[in-house]
């Protein structure tokens, strides 16, 4: 029997640091809610707005798969592996922190707001060699389609990570309806509405609302507004 949990946008943790306005779907930093610790291996979903030129100085990470999706603006990234890059809206960045990596992330533009989603997944193996990748996505390919942007397979579409997880982005015409087939038995899907309104398994969701669905193999989706955008995170429900 399919199960689900709703996470309305206004139930997320919120921290406004002035230059950083952050919404946390799961417990993060000073936001602690024992009912909102993770959805399967999905541990962090932060929706951050960062003022022009501002950002996070060098700080470390380990043993986490970190995915960053800029929704508006661009991020300037530097890390201890020697990578220095700008990731723009329409691109995706992935970092396997593994045994340890340090990086900085700043709004690359002085006069433009940066809005990004930062997502952390528990890895399926600890202490891997740190790695970095970024990819430009074909934004048109997600029109009325769940475009795969991440998988466990380096040869598959999108970036890859050390976890049996698949992410997809879609932008839909009003009334468009489809089923999403979960990629692996035992996985659940956490669907996050980036913009617009959608109906997932009969539940109406608005901007930044989310639903987590598990114990099922498909998800029914319908766009309830023009240009509705959704991120699907298809993740193992069991922690490794």
């Amino acid at each position: 029997m399919s199960q689900f949990i709703l996470h309305p946008a206004n139930t997320r943790g919120h921290a406004n640091h002035g230059w950083l306005n952050a919404h946390h779907s799961f417990s993060f930093a000073n936001y602690y809610n024992p009912e909102r610790m993770h959805f399967g291996v999905l541990r962090v979903l932060n929706d951050d707005s960062i003022d022009g030129g501002m950002g996070f100085g060098a700080h470390p990470h380990d043993n986490m798969e970190i995915i960053t999706i800029p929704l508006a603006g661009a991020i300037a990234h530097k890390d201890s592996m020697g990578n220095s890059a700008v990731i723009k809206s329409g691109e995706i960045q992935v970092m396997s922190a593994g045994t340890g990596v340090s990086h900085s992330e700043f709004n690359a533009n002085a006069d433009e707001q940066l809005n990004l989603l930062q997502i952390w997944l528990f890895p399926n193996k600890k202490n891997v060699t740190p790695r970095y990748d970024q990819q430009a996505l074909n934004v048109e390919a997600r029109h009325n389609n769940f475009q795969q942007i991440l998988s466990p397979d380096a040869a598959d579409e999108g970036v890859w990570i050390h976890q049996d997880a698949w992410f997809a982005l879609g932008k839909f015409d009003q009334g468009f309806e489809t089923d999403y087939k979960i990629k692996k038995a035992g996985n659940g899907v956490y669907a996050f509405v980036i913009s617009g309104e959608v109906i997932i398994n009969g539940q109406k969701l608005g901007k930044r609302d989310a639903i987590g669905v598990w114990d099922t193999d498909t998800l029914n989706f319908r766009a309830d507004s023009e240009g509705a955008e959704v991120l699907l995170m298809d993740v193992p429900m069991e922690l490794n």
Binding site: A15, H17, L20, S27, F28, A29, N30, Y32, P34, M37, R43, V44, F56, G57, A58, H59, P60, H61, D62, N63, M64, A97, G98, T99, G100, S102, W120, F122, K126, N127
Partner: protein, 116 residues
Amino acid sequence: MDFPVSPYDFNLKNMMPLTILYVGRDADITVVMNRLLNAREEWTGICVCSDEEAISVCKEQHLDLVLLGNGINHGDEQKLRTILSALRPGLKIVQHYGGGSGLLYGEIMSALREEG
């Protein structure tokens, strides 16, 4: 390496005093963890890179919680858990993920809730 103060550093109060041992192999991350754990009045953080140091600390003083950080291989982790648990039966030992402040408070709170 100089790590600036993060906006995610802690500023919470009204918590009982805790002594927390962090064990991780990366020296830079250990420095950050030491800063984070000692930034709070209620917490005393002791951060080490080797299992020998961890065992020595555990022998010498009371600990409320042990956080296992990065780079500890499976065999070493099992040995360390066995030795620390033998030294202090009931000592809570949990994995610290992420290497920084993002998950730290939640991990500690969850460990203490489970203990309680």
